[in-house]
């Protein structure tokens, strides 16, 4: 009986989902504002999804909740600002240096903050990432005392006309790059030795150790990857907008993606990212008239609360059953 109910529930959800998609397409054709919001929302959402992927990577490999994500995004954006604007390097040299910096950052955080705390209670693991975030925030004001800055434009500036809407080209570039990173991660996890080892570690840590896979190296690789993904997200989102302290909040908003999609699901993050992005831009576009300003920035947090009450493990997350 219950299984049957679940099936019906599932079909209803899919039907609802399809209706919403048709509705969005219909509105896209009808109104230009809406198309603009959709493209913006999709691209911002894809960036959220990327940052969320960074979280999911670490969570799957080592069950550590990385709450310093926002600060990692911010520090790598500032670092790319230093490379591209202050040192004046061209993008094809500067951006690889940013990636190397992110790799190094991930390694340092894992080696010096999390490795000593392996197998500690979850509260200490959360608190240590909070401490790391606090430290990074201080480091950022220490090195880059500016309040905001803009990256040099990475993408061509010409606008594209779709129907009657005018869309800046960079949004499409951002969506494309996010999809590319996601695809390469998928292939990495499917075919590369390390990727397979990481999936195995997520599945059963003791069995993996018995097979002779160095689990600590898996942990540190997952942190390095997470930082790189977050850095790419940071550079993309600050090339659309600007670098400012608000990027920390962007990193926190990525948690709503993680929660909605499920903590341990890559697909969940990639589906939930655009959903959150769209909800944010539609909400900002249509609700600001009726509510207070800045409603755009709290929508992800409101979604977190709603998901927590209705379906705490997210759309694609695995429901853990606990034993005493």
């Amino acid at each position: 009986m219950k299984a049957r109910f679940k099936q019906i529930f599932k079909y209803t959800l899919w039907a609802l989902f399809a209706t919403i998609i048709f509705f969005i397409i219909f509105l896209c054709v009808k109104s230009t504002d809406f198309l603009q919001f959709t493209i913006t929302g999709l691209s911002v959402g894809m960036v959220y999804a990327l940052i969320a992927l960074g979280f999911v990577l670490v969570w799957k490999a080592s069950s550590v909740a990385n709450l310093a994500l926002g600060q990692i995004v911010l520090i790598s954006s500032w670092f790319s600002y230093s490379m591209l604007e202050q040192a004046g390097l061209p993008a094809y040299i500067g951006l690889p240096i940013v990636v190397i910096f992110a790799l190094f950052l991930g390694w340092v955080i894992e080696r010096f903050a999390l490795r000593p705390l392996i197998a500690q209670p979850i509260l200490s693991l959360i608190a240590v990432t909070l401490g790391v975030g606090y430290f990074l925030e201080g480091l950022i004001t220490f090195i880059w005392p500016l309040s905001t800055a803009a990256l040099p434009s990475l993408f061509p500036k010409e606008v594209i006309h779709i129907g009657s809407a005018v869309i800046s080209q960079e949004y499409l570039w951002v969506i494309g790059i996010c999809l590319l990173v996601f695809l390469s991660l998928v292939f990495f996890f499917r075919y590369h030795r390390m990727g397979i080892a990481m999936r195995a570690t997520a599945d059963d840590q003791i069995a993996v150790q018995a097979c002779g896979i160095p689990v600590t190296r898996v942990f540190s690789t997952s942190w390095m990857f997470a930082c790189v993904v977050a850095a790419i997200g940071g550079v993309l989102i600050s090339s659309i907008g600007s670098i400012s302290h608000g990027l920390v909040e962007t990193g926190l908003k990525a948690f709503s993606v993680v929660i909605l999609g499920g903590l341990d699901s890559f697909v969940g993050a990639m589906v939930a990212g655009p959903v959150i992005g769209l909800a944010e831009t539609y909400g900002g576009g249509y609700l600001t008239e009726y509510l207070w300003a800045g409603v755009r920035d709290v929508i992800p947090f409101i979604i977190i609360i709603i998901v927590m009450v209705i379906k705490p493990f997210g759309l694609f997350g695995e429901e853990r059953i606990e034993r005493i």
């Binding site: 909740a65 709450l67 903050a113 000593p116 705390l117 500690q120 979850i122 509260l123 200490s124 959360i126 608190a127 240590v128 909070l130 401490g131 790391v132 975030g133 606090y134 430290f135 990074l136 925030e137 201080g138 480091l139 950022i140 004001t141 220490f142 090195i143 880059w144 005392p145 920390v248 909040e249 926190l252 948690f255 709503s256 929660i259 903590l263 207070w292 300003a293 800045g294 409603v295 920035d297 709290v298 947090f301 409101i302 977190i304 609360i305 927590m308 009450v309 705490p312 606990e322 034993r323 005493i324």
Partner: protein, 350 residues
């Protein structure tokens, strides 16, 4: 467990006493006398620092009940403090109610909001709950920033605290007001965790499923923990409002929430002295940094970048939190107990 050599308990009342021996009574009274004569020999700057320390101790005690004893991690404590501060501020300015009514209402309002945002704790825990409380922090601060009653970004001005026509304007009088309430709150918290409620909290922290099997009503006690923790946060917020007399949203940032979590970890989770020691450590570290270390370094090393002064404090705080978690996860309270044990048993440590 912590009695000097040769002292035995002969009755349950003796066993349950917080202050057991004459020496302990003497030291306790000495400490209280020292505390309440402190305004006589503190300069007005340090008086301000200690007033803020007292307020922070109340808030940290609340968070310690919620996180340290009941195990429900809250990273939105600054938001709940803000609820208390603004409730008290609005009640005393808009409705011109007396300060004491504002104080109690601030606590109740913060507790109520705490229960609302604590509702997900019935179903989720650990990281999920941490994220929920972060969301609570941002939603609360958004409402405060946008609502016209709270003055939005510009903030609002609040009158000084006053009881029965006497206004607490000077640093000294505020010191007495704040520390009387702080001592009361710490005493209540100390006693709360020794009661049935406190034991239920500890059972939930150690293993909530096992606690439920033993017959602890999880929903009731988790929400009660949220209520008590946020109630104390609200009291602290109200005192802060009437001490600082101007309120802006920046005073209750997400960073402060993280700092409160750091404070109770540094002090020692799940101990009564933990929050006090943690607050003292963090606030005094900040004063030492801003008064002595930063000007000294800036004078000796002229090469420093301009963000040094504002960046070095959060850097050190983050470092201290990480180092405490790695090197002394039981916090300063554990060291304090070791110290007490060593002098109690001196010179025969067996």
């Amino acid at each position: 467990m912590s009695l000097p050599c040769g002292i035995r308990n002969h009755s349950y009342a003796q066993d349950m006493a917080i202050v057991r021996t004459r020496t302990q009574w003497g030291m306790m009274l000495g400490f209280l006398v020292l505390l309440f004569t402190a305004p006589l020999y503190l300069s007005s700057y340090w008086l301000g620092v200690f007033n803020f320390i007292g307020i922070s101790i109340i808030a940290a005690t609340g968070l310690n009940i919620l996180t340290g004893f009941c195990g429900q991690l809250s990273i939105g404590h600054a938001g709940f403090i803000a609820v208390g501060a603004y409730t008290s501020g609005i009640l005393t300015t808009r409705f011109e109610l007396p300060f004491l009514v504002g104080l109690i209402c601030a606590g109740l309002m913060a507790g109520l909001i705490g229960i609302i945002f604590g509702l997900p704790s019935i179903r989720v825990k650990g990281f999920y709950l941490a994220i929920t409380t972060i969301a609570a922090q941002f939603i609360i601060m958004w409402v405060i920033q946008q609502w016209d009653w709270t003055g939005g970004q510009l903030g609002m001005t609040v009158p000084f605290a006053s009881i029965g026509g006497y206004a607490f304007r000077s640093g000294q009088s505020q010191f007495y007001l704040i520390f009387v309430i702080t001592v009361l709150c710490v005493f209540l918290a100390k006693n709360l965790v020794r009661t049935r409620v406190g034991r239920a909290f500890i059972a939930i922290r150690d293993n909530d499923l096992a606690a439920e099997v033993m017959g602890v009503n999880l929903t009731y006690y988790k929400l009660l923990a949220f209520f008590i923790g946020c109630f104390l946060a609200g009291i602290a917020g109200s005192l802060f409002a009437h001490w600082n007399i101007s309120l802006t949203p920046e005073q209750f940032s997400f960073k402060d929430s993280i700092l409160y979590v750091g404070i109770i970890i540094i002090g020692g989770l799940g101990t009564s002295v933990g929050p006090i020691l943690g607050v003292l450590f963090i606030r005094l570290l900040k004063e030492v940094l801003t008064i002595y270390l930063v000007p000294f370094l800036e004078n000796t090393l002229t090469m420093l970048p301009s963000g040094f002064a504002s960046g070095v404090t959060p850097m050190l705080f983050g470092l201290v939190i990480v180092l405490f978690l790695i090197l002394e996860p039981r916090g300063i309270a554990h060291r304090w107990n070791l110290f007490k044990a060593s002098y109690r048993l001196w010179p025969f440590s067996y």
